[in-house]
Symmetry: C2
Subunit: 220 residues, 2 copies
């Protein structure tokens, strides 16, 4: 029995039958860091709740270029993995595990049954979609409008504060995917940061030595 | 008295008091082609319904670069001009009149009062936001992933079919804003299309002579 009431704020608006339907069609799933959780080509997976770890949601070009829309962390609900239950969402996304993940998966059929009967369940899904729209626009504005040095500095500072460590465990290729760029561009800019003494580069890690330097880039 | 019931599908779910509140706080407004309807810096305008003409919604960089998210046509409801009533929408947009426009404007205070009391009104706004999220992702994928010749060909074919005419009345600068590019880039590509005999360029118009040529570009 999973404590769905902790994750679904509309739980108290469901009748006993609806609550049972969701509980009976929900299971825990685990994904290793870097594995694919959902791709647009597969069948609709369902609604995911992040119990631990984090997920990355991105779009993919025909040539294989990835552009990250947003990441999801503990207690976040992933709705785009259940876009079949939201007819308004017509674009294709991919979801990967950024870290080892433990997720709750609610089946799309059970969820859509509840959503079609209960306006509050639908309200929750739509509200979450509108929040993700804002998250996505933030990423798009960075990619379309912001200088690349600034974007990379923001990424490094965000990761530093999120992991509470000045050593970021990510390859240049991981970083490129997160901020919607190419590996070569990330490597070149990190080399320039390292020549300025702001970071020390090692295999698979970036150590931040001069936080102030990065903060000044972001301020400009 | 405006026929709000024609435009707001949740009308029948409102009580008489709620219906009266919206009707009493709704008026017709007119905008000339090219004029600003809403900008993120102004106060929240309200919910707009397009009675005639069309609107363009876009984001703007600090350097003044515009990227179009989507256009709205007759009977469409513009929600981002009332983002103050939707707390999930946290990004700034601008709305311009693409053509001479007649709009219905519902005051944000009246609308938010109804929305806070009536989950069906809120769901309509959120559902519309989710649709605009999809429209926006379509535009972003074009800008991030698609060759520029293809994007321009799609724009010309769309306008041709929308206006039911092979003469498109738009300057190169108008077109650049619509498809998120620079005027110089549009002019260069139109010149190349014209050298291929696909279009004839005149002041303020683009005449399409070879639809097949454009369709082949889109197919690639």
């Amino acid at each position: 029995m999973h404590n769905l009431n902790e994750y679904l704020p509309f739980w108290d608006k469901l009748n006993t039958q609806e609550q049972k339907l969701l509980s009976d069609n929900c299971k825990t799933v685990n994904y290793k860091k870097g594995s694919h959780v959902y791709s647009a080509n597969e069948e609709c997976l369902g609604v995911l709740v992040v119990l631990s770890g984090s997920l990355r949601t991105y779009i993919l070009s025909d040539e294989g270029r990835e552009v990250t829309l947003y990441n999801l962390h503990e207690n976040d609900v992933c709705i785009l993995s259940a876009s079949c239950v939201l007819s308004q969402i017509t674009f294709d996304v991919f979801v990967d595990a950024r870290e080892d993940c433990k997720l709750l998966l609610i089946s799309p059929l059970a969820f859509s049954t509840v959503m079609n009967n209960n306006v509050y369940a639908e309200n929750f899904m739509l509200r979450t979609a509108a929040e993700r729209f804002s998250d996505t626009m933030w990423a798009m504005q960075q990619i379309l409008f912001m200088g690349f040095d600034k974007r990379l500095a923001i990424y490094l500072l965000d990761e530093m504060s999120r992991t509470n460590s000045n050593v970021i465990r990510a390859t240049h290729s991981d970083i490129a995917k997160e901020i919607g760029s190419a590996r070569e561009v990330v490597s070149r800019m990190l080399k320039s940061f390292s020549e300025d003494g702001a970071v020390v580069l090692n295999r698979g890690t970036v150590e931040i030595c001069d936080k102030k330097f990065l903060q000044n880039l972001v301020k400009d």
